[in-house]
């Protein structure tokens, strides 16, 4: 749609700055009414988790996130979207993923950001493994059933 920027997608080891990412969507334009920024953080699970190790399938991750972003742009009249996903070792309280979405109206921005996160969770090729406090290597994180249910919400509107 008119004014829609090409989504920005990055997969990287280093940390990101949510303020820089969301400000970049907004800068130099006055047609944006709503800017939603989501940051996913590494929880310490009640003090038991030291870090998450995130394995990924690099080439596919970029391609898959770009597909998900294109899907969001086709569904909502967005004025910009940025998705950044980290891999490697992320300490408790560290940032894992960012989704920033700009739109004229807040309903579109909230829905698109929520959709992007649901689809990233269930489609982007990343796998988390826990590193426990004390040094032990924990298990691979199991997918939450809630994530599939959350992603399925968007399918009713497809058909």
């Amino acid at each position: 749609m008119a004014g829609a920027a090409k989504p920005i997608v990055r997969v990287q080891r280093e940390d990101f700055d949510p303020a820089v990412e969301s400000e970049a969507l907004r800068r130099g334009r006055a047609d944006i009414g709503a800017l939603v920024t989501f940051v996913g953080l590494c929880r310490d699970e009640g003090g038991t988790l030291q870090a998450l190790e995130i394995e990924h399938y690099g080439a596919m991750a970029i391609a898959e996130i770009e597909r998900v972003a294109a899907e969001a742009l086709s569904r909502w009249p967005l004025l910009g979207a940025t998705i950044v996903h980290r891999y490697g070792l992320i300490e408790a309280s560290g940032r894992i993923v960012l989704v920033a979405v700009a739109a004229a109206h807040r309903g579109d921005a909230f829905e698109a950001a929520s959709f992007l996160m649901d689809y990233l969770k269930t489609r982007a090729p990343f796998w988390k493994r826990a590193h426990l406090v004390g040094g032990a290597r924990g298990d691979w994180v199991e997918p939450r059933g809630a994530d599939d249910i959350s992603a399925a919400r968007w399918r009713a509107a497809e058909s």
Binding site: Y57, K121, A124, P125, F126, K128, E142, P143
Partner: protein
Amino acid sequence: MKALYFAWVRERVGKSEEEIAPQASVATVDDLMTWLAEKDEAYAHAFEKKSVIRAALDRAHVSHDARIAGAKEIAFFPPMTGG
């Protein structure tokens, strides 16, 4: 074709990638998992529950009945837990 393994599939197989050359009768993703599972105990362990394993052909998700002919790269992995 190149086969890639991720997360616990990679750990069980014992490698992250390899070249494979299945015979022509191995037509689908499901066939290929069965073929791999017959290689040795490590592969058998990795692919013992095929239904939980996800696959991608040339970097796009596919179902287990997808045909593998013509693909350059196939990846096997557990359900994703990113985001």
